[in-house]
């Protein structure tokens, strides 16, 4: 569980996050949406400890965010960072996500390799396992970075715009992998995205940010035409997915 209490962040004199309080329960996928600049990335980075200059508290499994110990209690953050060593092949790079689970001078366990191979298979990356990461196409590369985040099996995974560069099949594979990640009820995931349909189909609960504040929060049912008009300034048509009943957002053609 992640508990955020009265989190505020000021950058260069302007308040970019204002008094945010939010609880993310184990087994939940939280979807963060909001206009660009609303504070989604900053909130995720604050939870992940990438930004530490905030006021308020972030506790993860009852431990302060800056005082996490052990991979199960930690947080993995997926952003736009590139791995610096492009000579590494994909399988080895993904296996490195398990380093926190092993002791120095000891080899990876069979379980580490099994987890890596499971995600390679689940995300349909198996045929790229031997390729250098510098040679991966953009979509496959992004999927590999998502796999790296999941393979670490941290208590919480935070994804900032995970669907960028992904094709429709990859989006589906990632969504399934994420659902499986939190399925056992001991992990939590938060996903921020500008892809409202992805969020509405993936998240269990949606948090809408506006000007660094939580504007609305609730189940996917809050994704109404009025809500989207209010926060994004655009008219949309909402229908329901015929398989799961969740909202689907459609843009009107230009008048």
């Amino acid at each position: 569980m992640i508990d955020i209490s009265n989190l505020s962040l000021t950058i260069n004199g302007s308040a970019v996050l204002n008094n945010i309080s939010l609880t993310m329960n184990d087994g939940e996928i939280i979807g963060l949406i909001g206009k660009s600049g609303s504070g989604k990335t900053l909130l995720l980075k604050s939870i992940a400890g990438r930004i530490r200059s905030y006021e308020g508290t972030v506790t993860i499994q009852d431990a302060a965010a800056g005082n996490r110990k052990g991979p199960q209690r930690g947080v993995a953050y997926y952003g736009s960072a590139l791995p610096q060593n492009p000579e590494e092949n994909l399988y080895n790079f993904l296996l490195l996500a398990r380093v926190a689970h092993k002791k120095p001078f000891r080899p990876f366990s069979d379980y580490d390799r099994q987890v890596t191979e499971e995600y390679l298979s689940a995300l349909d990356l198996g045929r790229y396992g031997g390729a250098k990461i510098s040679t991966l196409p953009d979509g496959i590369f992004r999927l590999a970075m998502l796999a790296h985040t999941l393979i670490g099996e941290r208590h919480a995974v935070l994804f900032d715009n995970p669907t960028n560069d992904l094709d429709i099949l990859s989006v589906r594979l990632f969504r399934n992998a994420l659902a499986r990640y939190v399925m056992n009820g001991s992990r939590v995931a938060a996903v921020s995205s500008n892809d409202l349909n992805f969020i509405s189909q993936t998240a269990d609960r949606i948090v809408i940010l506006a000007d660094g504040r939580i504007a609305e929060t609730g189940s996917t049912d809050i994704m109404t035409a009025d809500t989207i008009k209010r926060h994004f300034g655009i008219d949309v048509l909402i229908s329901r997915n015929i398989y799961n009943g969740k909202p689907e957002i459609h843009l009107f053609p230009d008048a």
Partner: protein, 298 residues
């Protein structure tokens, strides 16, 4: 394995070439001790190239990065004005190379080709100093230039303990890093991917810099710039045994440089080695496969 079989031919050719040049050196009365000491430098450079797996900053050999030029200037100045004690010289070059590495890591941005530019600047300074020395500005300097560039210790001869300890360092340092292979490889992917506390990251980075500085100093003092092709050859090699190909290529060039030195003098040997280093680097640089923009750097 198919790839291992395809490696057999180039490795056999490189082995034959290294043995042939070594035999030619013996025929040309190159002292066997000189050849053996050059090999110590080759071993140290091979170890240094292996550490490149853990340091994405290292995009080129020590000639292109300017490390050999800086070491040459430092060694020339130390040997001419301060001391010829081999241990003090090794310590001096070691410190200078660590400082230069810190400069590369803290100041330069490899993605903007700044390492290559800094390397060229260092070599330009070296060339200017060499012109001054050769034109008679510094008595004794001209006779020192050849040995400095082709392996100061190999030319001068040193107490047997120094090559023995150096060889041990060249073997043990990669083994130590090999034992920490996953941790170091993850560290090489950058801070966002690190899973260790800050002090562990700092310790690992410092260890890498010290190890690299030591190996570069040993290699330079024993082999000069006669083997500075290892990093490029290793990355250029597409087969299953890049480490073997790298070691044999360096041994081959080292022995060939000694042969050129015996036939035409150490300065020409250094010039040939320098040219070979740039030739192999150019091959590697032009054949790199970076299909996508995210790694279109340097």
């Amino acid at each position: 394995m198919r790839t291992a079989r395809t490696d057999a031919v180039p490795i056999a050719i490189l082995s034959a070439a290294a043995l042939s040049t070594a035999a030619a050196n013996l025929l040309m009365n190159v002292p066997p001790l000189h050849m053996a000491l050059n090999l110590v430098g080759v071993c140290a450079y091979a170890a240094l190239a292996l550490l490149g797996d853990y340091d994405p900053h290292i995009l080129c050999d020590t000639v292109q990065s300017g490390e050999t030029a800086v070491a040459t200037l430092a060694l020339g100045a130390a040997a001419l004005f301060i001391t010829v004690n081999p241990y003090l010289l090794l310590a001096a070059i070691f410190i200078v190379l660590i400082m230069y590495q810190l400069f590369m890591k803290a100041v330069l941005a490899p993605a903007k080709k700044e390492i290559a530019l800094a390397g060229m600047a260092a070599q330009a300074v070296l060339a200017a100093m060499a012109v001054l020395v050769v034109t008679g500005g510094l008595p004794g300097g001209a006779s020192l230039a050849g040995p400095v560039l082709t392996g100061f210790f190999s030319a001068a001869g040193v107490h047997p303990a120094l090559p023995a300890v150096s060889l041990a360092a060249a073997i043990l340092i990669p083994l130590l890093f090999r034992a920490l292979n996953p941790e170091m490889r993850l560290l090489s992917q950058g801070l966002p991917f690190s899973q260790r506390p800050r002090r562990a990251r700092v310790a690992a980075s410092a260890g890498l810099i010290v190890a690299r500085g030591l190996l570069a100093a040993i290699s330079f003092l024993f082999a000069g710039l006669t083997c500075c092709i290892g990093i490029s050859v290793r990355r250029l090699h597409r087969g299953a045994l890049p480490d073997a190909a790298m070691f044999l290529s360096m041994a081959c060039l080292g022995q060939a440089a000694l042969l050129v030195g015996a036939l035409a003098g150490p300065l020409r040997a250094a010039a040939v080695s320098w040219a070979c280093s740039y030739a192999v680097f150019s091959l590697y640089y032009t054949r790199r496969v970076h299909v996508y923009d995210r790694y279109q750097q340097s």
